[in-house]
């Protein structure tokens, strides 16, 4: 930059260098991960497959995830659905989806009226800061949905 003919040209050169760097970064990242990754579209397709095309309604379901995750290799997740869990009013299945792991599926939990409470806890992997979606299928065939935004500082290592 010392050899720049004028400060203005130096700034311009620096700007162009940085701009080129920014433009190349996503390309590099894509090449580096190298495999088909789940996208919001893939997640929507996986959800359609789960619900059979029915539109899930929000409410009556809670998805608990820490908003800020330091280690994506083990993220505690709790899904709870408001339900009496009686023979007529119960939760049949709970599915969890993500939008940026290599695959959109996380898990499907099968419950019965004998489960007592519609609440499941587990630990999952998250490859990036993203949206996690939970869908519950109730006994009457309707669907409920909840979502959670998660910021991941150390991603679950896909590359090593």
């Amino acid at each position: 930059m010392n050899l720049s003919p004028s400060p203005a040209a130096g700034t311009r050169r620096a700007f162009l260098t940085r701009a080129a760097g920014f433009a190349a970064a996503p390309l590099l990242l894509t090449a580096w991960s190298g495999r088909a990754a789940a996208t919001p579209e893939a997640m929507a397709a996986a959800i359609r497959l789960f619900t059979g095309g029915a539109a899930p309604r929000p409410g009556g379901i809670r998805l608990d995830l820490p908003p800020l995750v330091e280690n994506g290799n083990s993220v505690p997740l709790t899904v709870s659905v408001e339900s009496a869990m009686s023979a007529t009013d119960f939760v049949r299945r709970i599915a969890v989806f993500n939008e940026k792991n290599p695959q959109p599926h996380v898990a499907v939990f099968h419950l019965t009226p004998r489960s007592g409470r519609a609440q499941v806890t587990t630990r999952i992997r998250l490859a990036d800061s993203q949206v996690v979606v939970a869908i519950a299928e109730l006994g009457d065939g309707t669907f409920r949905t909840a979502r959670a935004d998660v910021i991941v500082t150390l991603a679950a290592c896909i590359e090593s």
Partner: protein, 107 residues
């Protein structure tokens, strides 16, 4: 045999909702990571977990590579009568393991 941790209350009242926690030592290799030689390590995960209460399935889970290593699950069931809880994990490469626990239900 993989190590398991199973947490079931020893006794419960009839009709009480009991919380069950299960963990199995398993690497849950995702099938997306390169190994030391640069080759992608083949997928090796637990694909299904089921809990049976006196033979009747009360909880099951289909798992994917997005579950953390050593998959840990917490769920509930209604204590109906004294009986045996059977926990089964099935996975890739013919992985299969069954553990049992007893639950005593007091009147």
């Amino acid at each position: 045999m993989a190590r398991t941790l199973i947490n079931v209350p020893k006794t419960a009242k009839a009709g009480e909702v009991v919380e069950i926690k299960v963990l199995i030592a398993h690497p849950m290799e995702t099938g997306f990571r390169p190994g030391p030689n640069g080759q992608i390590l083949p997928r090796d995960i637990v694909t299904r977990f089921a809990c049976r209460y006196d033979g009747e399935e009360v909880f099951a889970a289909d798992l994917s590579p997005a579950l953390a290593a050593n998959p840990f699950l917490t769920f509930t069931t209604v204590a109906t009568r004294t009986g045996t809880l059977t926990f089964t994990w099935e996975g890739d490469n013919g992985f299969s393991q069954t553990e049992t626990a007893n639950l005593v239900v007091e009147a």
